[in-house]
Amino acid sequence: MEQQLLMGLRKTVESVLPIPYYRERFGAVGINKAEDILSLEDFQRLPLTTKEDLRKNYPYGLFAEPMENIVRLHASSGTTGKPTVVGYTSKDIELWAKIVAKELARLGVTKQDVVQIAYGYGLFTGGMGLHYGCEELGAVAVPISGGNTARQLMLMRDFGTTVLACTPSYALYLAESLEESGIAREELKLKIGVFGAEPWSEGMREQIEARLGIKAFDIYGLSETMGPGVALECPAQQGLHIDEHFYPEILDSEGNPQPIGERGELVLTSLEKEGFPVLRYRTKDLTALSYGKCSCGEVGWTMERVSARVDDMLIIRGVNVFPSQVEEAILSLGGFEPHYLLVVYREGSLDQLEVQVEVNETSFFDEVRELEGRQERLKQRIEEILGIAVRIRLVEPKSIPRSEGKAVRVIDKRK
């Protein structure tokens, strides 16, 4: 297996070597041609690629094919600076569709299914990635994109949607809106959800599954490496199967490779991608890998659900805090809505974390003592998990803004 993998990796190295930026950096570690890589250790000597490298070469500097062979561009949102641009050849588009189709099929999606794609369409890869996968499979793709929730629910009923694809936070918002819409759950044929593009917790999955009455699956991907479909769960729901066209590594915070099973940052190398091959790309997503045979029969790499992104990490009083940890605490206690907001601010010279949580009918008690007790238990649970003191602020239902795409979980007022 290692020989075959090495050949694939060498091919990717070979495809990027004509690009001056890579050639220079590879030369600096003594790798001037693909054949210089004799082992996985050699491969791990290659410098890592970061979002910053992509920005430095904006827009087309790291494309491995001339523009005449590129048939589509996608780009990240670029909220903090220039966007990162990726290009696809027609073969890349085909491969992407095949990967997503194969993964959807593993979940039991067939030609009979109607897939409502409520991911954004456009430069973001979410919408079109799922779309082409659906068409490849022969399922009905409904390119509704995000937003317009009332219409989403109406069409979900009228079109007989069986599969919903969107971010988990939007799925939850749809569930909440369904409860108020006058449309009964029995009128819907929905059975499967394919959710991704933001970190979510197991508790959030349980909420979505219970409220929408579906099986919810985690899909992973990022535009830099292709888009959605880099990995997707199987019916066993025990981790995401990484597609064979990607080679994963896990690094610690200093960038050192970690043994299988350790948690750290996921680094991906594409195999067989033409337009925009990536080499040891730092995803900034935290997970752990395993290799072997899943109960579904699939053999290969499996990654844990991405519980956090390096970028989402807050450092509060010197302690690392991830929004997903707070989510887990809120959902494990029950009685609160799975909508929350972390507000970080400074009081004097001390960082403070306020967690805003929505109360609902089950967590609200007429007796102030009871309510305070509940608030106190939540405070303790969060503090146990985070290791720092927090302030809990109970807010009214629906007062925390809902998202139709990626949810905003943090307001950092220290900046």
Partner: protein, 134 residues
């Protein structure tokens, strides 16, 4: 026994006024009202004519409401009026969680809203002391 509406109020400027205005919009007459507040939020407790229907309407407007059984006792509007009643209740093992009062000028009567710990004890006590209540 009556049903009191308990409403969760987020600690935000103008929130109380908003909820009271919403009640006005819904044409709800507030017969009694009390506000409990903590550092972080408040609980507005009100007695209205149609507690269930009002609750329904408030929930439609995303207000968190719970219905709480309370007793509304008629107490003579004079010095010592309430003390007499409370002493009788205490003797009969009633534990009061909270209470608030309002006065009806026409009838020279004070009305006291009482929330007790144990409903059954209160029921028994009320039979025994034979006090008028709503």
């Amino acid at each position: 026994m009556m049903l009191q509406l308990s409403i969760f109020l987020e600690n935000a400027k103008g929130r109380l006024a908003e909820v009271i205005s919403l009640l006005a919009e819904l044409n709800v007459n507030l017969r009694a009202l009390s506000l409990a507040d903590t550092k972080d939020y408040g609980v507005l407790r009100i007695i209205v004519d149609e507690p269930e229907a009002t609750t329904e309407k408030l929930r439609e407007r995303n207000v968190v409401v719970s219905l709480t059984p309370v007793w509304v006792l008629k107490v003579p509007d004079r010095a010592g009026g309430l003390a007499e009643v409370l002493n009788q209740l205490v003797k009969l093992d009633v534990v009061v969680e909270y209470m608030y009062a309002f006065v009806e000028k026409e009838h020279k009567q004070a009305q006291v809203v009482i929330r007790v710990q144990d409903k059954d004890i209160m029921e028994k006590a009320m039979k025994e002391i034979n006090l008028p209540f709503l």
